[in-house]
């Protein structure tokens, strides 16, 4: 059983990395990765929301939606859960770590529409994962996002001092770097 969990975990982080492989959650990925500390903040916030969302959505799906044949409410209820979780996290961060709250700025509420979070929730259902598997998959997905964000932030900080052509500065060079990172992540595909 645990071997299976471990493989889900590794697949979620490296092989099916949410950002670089399935191209989900690009908006915060590009928006917040200019500095490592805000990237860490965002990564942790997203992982926290993902794991919690993974568990809550799984329970809603299996305790309410499936028995009462309300599958069509799936998207609606999942996104309501995620939105409320994000609003909750926003309040907590605003109270406890105001500087991080300032650094994340608009990208904190945008976690709600972060495709990765809803992606994980729907993926858990589509793959028919149990509770523990969903939690592990969500954790893996979150850490995968966090890992990619950290890599990106590190690279972008070095890009600040590199000689970048005028038109490429800012977002364009970020996307080219993300493309190269995605190619690098294909190397992990052999792990499956």
């Amino acid at each position: 059983m645990s071997a299976d969990l471990f493989s889900i975990f590794i697949i979620a982080i490296f092989i099916e990395n949410f950002v670089l492989n399935q191209i989900l959650g690009i908006c915060p990925f590009v928006g917040v990765s200019n500095r490592v500390d805000s990237a860490v903040g965002m990564g942790l916030a997203v992982t926290f929301v993902m794991v919690l969302a993974g568990v809550v959505t799984w329970s809603i799906q299996n305790l309410f939606l499936a028995p009462f044949h309300l599958e069509y409410l799936q998207t609606l209820s999942f996104i309501l859960v995620i939105a409320s979780l994000v609003q909750f996290v926003e309040m907590v961060i605003r109270k406890t770590v105001p500087s991080l709250y300032q650094a994340l700025g608009v990208y904190l509420p945008l976690i709600t529409t972060n495709c990765a979070v809803l992606g994980v929730a729907l993926l858990n259902v589509r793959k028919g994962y149990g509770l523990v598997e969903s939690a592990v998959n969500s954790l893996g997905g979150g850490l995968g996002f966090f890992f990619a964000l950290l890599l990106m932030a590190g690279i972008r900080e070095r890009l600040e001092v590199a000689e970048v052509p005028v038109a490429m500065r800012g977002a364009p060079i970020t996307f080219i770097t993300a493309g190269l990172l995605a190619i690098a992540f294909y190397g992990f595909a052999g792990l499956a």
Partner: protein
């Protein structure tokens, strides 16, 4: 009827290249022109509806639960469209079907709702929605042209003579999306900077 609201979304404040919202579906779906237009039209339609509804209810929403309420409105709107299309227009739904659930997580919808619809009148919100939707579609089409021709050797489904036998598959996959997107954005910045050196 100030047209500035309408035209700004199309190029000046293009949602993808300038505001950089909604890049997830843009990269994931822009592998063929047909997909791009499909996604664009579906997104425009949803954006129109959600902007209108949100700008209508914006006064009564307590600020603490602003985001959950907006998201519920958007999700309901999207699911209804998905179901009605699947029921009454099965052919269209077959081609557009997989895009509709993707729209719920499209950052543009909540982005525009949060940034625009909850501050402006319904008329302006509709104009903004149309502008943003068109801008989104155009940007998507621009990306899709490169990716389909280079990666798939087709243009709108018609095989392109030179490339069709061994297209560069990388273009279709995730990294290709990133590259084309980055280069197009650089080209836009270059233009916006008045074609400076």
């Amino acid at each position: 009827m100030n047209t500035k609201e309408l035209t700004k979304g199309i190029w000046a404040e293009n949602p993808i290249f300038v505001i950089m919202l909604g890049c997830c579906p843009a990269l994931a779906v822009s592998t063929s022109l047909a997909n791009a237009f499909g996604m664009g039209i579906a997104a425009t339609f949803v954006l129109l509806g959600s902007n209108l509804i949100i700008s209508l209810i914006r006064a009564s929403v307590p600020d603490k639960i602003r985001i959950p309420v907006y998201i519920v409105v958007i999700a309901t709107f999207v699911t209804m469209i998905d179901k009605f299309m699947a029921a009454f227009t099965p052919a269209l739904s077959a081609s557009l079907g997989i895009f509709i659930p993707l729209i719920v997580v499209n950052c543009i919808i909540l982005g525009r709702a949060e940034a625009f619809a909850n501050k402006n009148t319904p008329q302006d919100s509709i104009l903004d929605a149309i502008g943003m939707g068109l801008g989104f579609t155009i940007a998507l089409a621009m990306i899709a042209v490169f990716r389909e021709v280079l990666g798939d050797g087709k243009f709108f489904g018609i095989p392109v003579p030179l490339i069709k036998d061994d297209p560069c598959l990388l273009m279709i996959m995730a990294p290709g999306g990133f590259f084309v997107f980055g280069l197009l954005m650089a080209w836009k910045k270059h233009l916006a900077a008045g074609g400076a050196k």
